[in-house]
């Protein structure tokens, strides 16, 4: 049956300069100015990071959380190309675009956070690379993944510029690229959790476990689901487009099953390690842990009923909660639960926060611009309706 959801992707069109895009561009501009100061005067001139907290929001938000938020593409590729759920196909390109920006900017975040960025290439150089380091694996994986995503995404560019031949050649090897596009994030999203293992006792027992890679991988997948729902809702509202509710409904059902599995693993791990008691301490860590758990449990509660899974409002709230949960998990494990020793304080400075905001603004701006300019979103409702009437 003719279905608007299988319409070929097409540029959205519409104005590129709007109040929204201007504000976003301004925020991005502010971030660039601050980064200029950072490069001229050092990290300390714009951030509050110190030797007690050497990693601040630039690493924890821009890289760790930012890349997790960019897992929409990973999850969609997994669903569509590995588990062959072709009905989600129209959601692939937009998810991929968001992922592309998310990861590219996470990569940029790494670069401007590095103190001796001019030596960055050492990570990839055989004589220097230290293969036992978790960070080595994360860095190489993320870099390869960014390349892979640009290739995965290139059909959109090739279509726009009518390069049919190139597109055909690419589609012959695309399966391999896609396979990489599922392997690589599985590796590095889990390893972003493994980064913490070497910190040993410096990570609070509520978060330090050998299962960190599994927890991070599962939450990355969950965030991937959530962000797809989130972005679908935003696009629908923002671009005044139809919302693919029945797809999202199925997606959310999958999501809450994975979520349930995650919660079982998380709690069982705490129990086996004897860390359950820690959640009842009178401490900031315990409070943040409860907030984290509440945010993880909320979507299960909200979307338990099938009717709820068809309610756009509930879907959005549940997705938002889950994204926030993943965010809080990472903030907790890297910052709140990082027991660096007494006497140290850290809270991001205003310029530090503005850079992260600017990066987000740049992502959103890029998304809006590319979605209007390239064939990414399924052909718009009006066009299909007109076609259907014919």
């Amino acid at each position: 049956m003719s279905n608007t959801y299988h319409a070929a992707p097409a540029p959205l069109g519409g104005p590129l300069v709007t109040p929204t895009t201007i504000i976003l561009a301004a925020l991005a501009g502010i971030a660039f100015v601050i980064l200029g100061v950072r490069f001229l005067f050092g990290l300390g001139s714009v951030t509050n990071i110190n030797d007690g907290y050497p990693w601040g929001v630039w690493v924890v938000y821009d890289v760790v959380i930012g890349s997790a938020f960019a897992c929409g593409g990973y999850v969609m590729a997994l669903l569509v190309y590995i588990f062959n759920k072709g009905e989600y196909h129209p959601m692939v390109r937009p998810a991929l675009l968001a992922s592309l920006f998310g990861y590219t900017l996470a990569g940029a975040g790494v670069v401007f956070d590095l103190g001796r960025y001019w030596n960055m290439w050492h990570i990839f150089w055989p004589g220097y690379a230290q293969v036992n380091s978790v960070m080595f694996e994360v860095a190489v994986c993320i870099t390869c993944y960014i390349v892979v995503m640009w290739i995965e995404f290139s059909p959109a560019f090739l279509e726009k510029f009518g390069l049919k031949d190139a597109k055909r050649k690419l589609s012959k090897v695309l399966f391999f690229i896609i396979a990489l596009g599922v392997l690589l994030p599985s590796m590095h999203q889990s390893s972003l959790g493994s980064l913490l293992v070497v910190f040993g006792y410096q990570i609070h027992p509520l978060w330090q476990t050998i299962l960190l890679p599994l927890l991070y991988l599962m939450t990355a997948v969950l965030i991937g689901f959530a962000i797809v729902i989130f972005e679908a809702c935003l696009s629908s509202s923002g671009f005044k487009r139809p919302l693919e509710l029945h797809l999202l409904g199925k997606l959310s059902k999958l999501m809450i099953w994975v979520l349930a599995a995650y919660l079982v693993v998380r709690l069982a791990d705490l129990a086996v390690r004897g860390a359950l008691g820690s959640m009842f301490e009178a401490s900031i860590e315990a409070v943040m842990f409860w907030i984290e758990m509440a945010l993880f449990i909320a979507p299960l509660v909200i979307l338990a009923q099938p009717t709820a899974r068809r309610n756009p409002s509930k879907l959005f709230i549940a997705a938002f909660c889950l994204m926030l949960a993943g965010f809080i998990l990472r903030i907790n494990s890297f910052l709140v639960g990082y027991e660096t020793g007494p006497g140290w304080h850290y809270f991001p400075s205003v310029p530090e926060i503005m850079v992260s905001i600017g990066m987000i603004a740049l992502e959103i701006l890029g998304y809006i611009v590319l979605v209007r300019y390239l064939p990414i979103l399924p052909g718009n409702f009006n066009q299909s309706a007109v076609a259907a009437q014919k």
């Binding site: 509202s237 919302l243 509710l245 309610n311 409002s313 991001p348 205003v350 809006i368």
Partner: protein, 387 residues
């Protein structure tokens, strides 16, 4: 305390004639003496008055196992000079080194002075007293030091031991102490005021004597009998090289770079950290700064302290008696890093608020949106286009 107020012109003139110094020099001497003793303002007037008007007290000075360094140190005093002291401020009625006479005549002079000033003379003891074999290792005029000391101490108004030897045994008591040398206080069986040092700074002694003259009693002493004005602080606490100690700059060998720059001498064995004395404050010899052992570049040997001088090797490290580390020391835990500034907290709150608020609004709007599955009606026009 003498009731005569200073200002009696006849007395001043008499004083000037007697002492052969101007009134200004005399007052300067009194001020210096009061300052050395740490006396409050106004004390110099009392001292001046006492010196000007009081009858000169009789002083009997005994020498035992000593090198006469304490007397020699006194001879180098400038304010007052010793001759002014002995001729005009006190009446020195017995002193083996300074007396022209000798033998039985001098001993007779001593006995008669003691009788004449019974209960009022000041007895000064220089040198340690041997006790082994009934003290036969030091005899004057046929009497052992022990006998002599006990005899003279019996009728003394006040007794002061000058120098480390009589204060606690000093050099003669260096282990193995073959003659059984002990301090004057040990012989007399009580703690007597003492001015340790090898030699002591003459002004410590002079100030003590003038205090006695002015106020009729000796100054406040610590539990060992040492006047607090001179012996209540460690050399380490007043040392001019203390900043180098605190900054970790040390001379490692005589003549090396650090030594030439005047760095701390702790590593060369300076006993300043465990020695109570006022040498860095008043120095020696009135020749200007750096005129004390550390100032010249030699580690302090702790000459005032029993158990340090002549017991510990000169280059052995001192035990730090400084009971508290200086205030400017980093603690095990120091506050570091910046917490939330007002701006950052406000910004974060604003972002969180905006995100939650926008999310709530979007959720509400989505709720109002039409079910797309039926596929016919257009979505509601939304106000907000933000993403």
């Amino acid at each position: 305390m003498d009731e005569n107020s200073f200002g009696n012109e006849v007395d001043i003139l008499a004083l000037e004639n007697r002492l052969g110094i101007s009134r200004r020099s005399f007052m300067q001497m009194c001020v210096a003496m009061a300052a050395t003793m740490g006396l409050p303002k106004g004390a110099e007037a009392a001292i001046a008055s006492a010196v000007a008007t009081k009858k000169r007290p009789s002083v009997i000075w005994l020498h035992f196992q000593e090198c006469t360094g304490c007397t020699e140190s006194l001879l180098r005093a400038e304010h007052p000079t010793l001759e002014k002291l002995i001729l005009d401020i006190i009446s020195l009625d017995y002193h083996e080194t300074l007396f022209a006479a000798a033998g039985h005549q001098v001993e007779a002079a001593r006995k008669s002075a003691m009788k004449a000033n019974k209960g009022k003379y000041l007895l000064v003891v220089e040198g340690a007293i041997p006790t082994k074999n009934n003290g036969i290792y030091c005899k004057i005029g046929g009497q052992t030091a022990i006998e002599l000391l006990k005899e003279c101490a019996a009728d003394a108004g006040a007794i002061v031991a000058i120098g480390s030897c009589s204060s606690w045994g000093g050099m003669p008591s260096t282990p193995p102490n073959p003659t059984g040398s002990v301090s004057a206080g040990e012989v007399l069986g009580k703690v007597i005021p003492n001015i340790p040092g090898c030699p002591p700074n003459p002004y410590n002694f002079l100030s003590t004597v003038v205090h006695f003259l002015t106020f009729g009693k000796l100054p406040d002493v610590d539990e060992f009998g040492r006047p607090k004005f001179a012996y209540s602080r460690l050399i380490h606490e007043n040392c001019e090289r203390r900043a180098h100690f605190d900054a970790g700059r040390f001379a490692l060998e005589f003549g090396d770079d650090g030594h030439r720059k005047g760095y701390c001498l702790y590593k060369l064995g300076c006993k300043g950290p465990e020695t109570y004395a006022n040498c860095p404050a008043i120095l020696f010899g009135d020749v200007g700064n750096a005129s004390w052992p550390v100032g010249t570049g030699h580690p302090c040997i702790g000459c005032t302290e029993k158990g340090v001088a002549f017991t510990k090797p000169i280059h052995e490290l001192a035990v730090l008696k400084t009971v508290r580390p200086p205030v400017g020391f980093p603690n095990i835990i120091e506050d570091q890093g910046k917490g939330a500034s007002l701006g950052a907290a406000a910004l974060t709150a604003a972002i969180a608020g905006a995100a939650v608020g926008a999310g709530a609004m979007l959720a509400k709007n989505l709720g109002k949106g039409v079910k797309i599955d039926d596929g016919e009606s257009a979505p509601k026009k939304e106000e907000r286009t933000e993403s």
